[in-house]
Symmetry: C2
């Protein structure tokens, strides 16, 4: 792809890879009964940390009404918890409850296979890979 400076066949490999990651994540979400927005919100919370419903609604692009019910769903499913803001009693803080266990369970088979793949690399190669993971995470951040 000329805009990225990557050769086309490398782009294709990478595109397929991203597609596979998405596919796996969506399938796992579906297996847990999570909608796309729910998963999106969980990812936002996981990436950015606890935040108020207002912030979450800004991040997801939802208005406040649907956001309230989004949080209701996540809370009822045990993925998230509402905590009162000590400094402002109008506010609520939404925080993840540990790591979503069901979701992790659904993602486990793929992670096991990935772990197998990773075991075939040398320590230096693993350093490279994890360096990439860390830096790509920022690259994928919105904004």
């Amino acid at each position: 792809m000329s805009t990225t400076g990557m050769p086309d066949d490398a782009t294709e490999v990478y595109r397929r890879y991203l597609g596979a990651v998405m596919l796996n994540g969506l399938a796992a979400a579906r297996a847990c009964g999570l909608g796309a927005t729910d998963l999106y919100a969980l990812n936002v919370l996981g990436a950015t940390g606890p935040m108020t419903p207002g912030e979450l609604s800004a991040r997801t692009g939802l208005t406040t009404g649907p956001t309230t019910r989004l949080i209701d769903r996540l809370e009822q499913a045990g993925y998230v918890r509402r905590v009162p803001d000590p400094g402002d009693r109008r506010k609520v803080i939404v925080e993840q409850v540990g790591t979503p266990a069901e979701l992790d369970e659904a993602l486990a088979p793929a992670r096991r296979k990935v772990a197998e793949v990773l075991q075939s690399y040398s320590p230096e190669q693993l350093d490279t890979l994890f360096d990439y993971f860390a830096r790509a995470t920022d690259a994928f951040r919105p904004g």
Copy 2:
């Protein structure tokens, strides 16, 4: 994570990375007006290649009715094309029309940043990374 043999902090880096990839993909899909199922189906088609509506319905878990309308949506949006099966005139083959341009456009900023990250690696390191991309793609395949 003990089930994978990965150290816990490495798992966390990796989990964040996957979350970021998902987040970016979902945001891009939303920007293109694609629903979660539509995106899922496009990913299936991209990963597996052209297939009949029946196969697609099995992959997505939808019944045949919604699958027809799913394909209608994707076709109308120009992401996909229906071709008659030459060997069986009951069948239709659904195939992607090139690479979804709008989706690619929406993903471009992230890809540019990733390309920047990738430019900092040596050729040997890039070999390692792309080897991983290719093998991880299979690891993420459902089944």
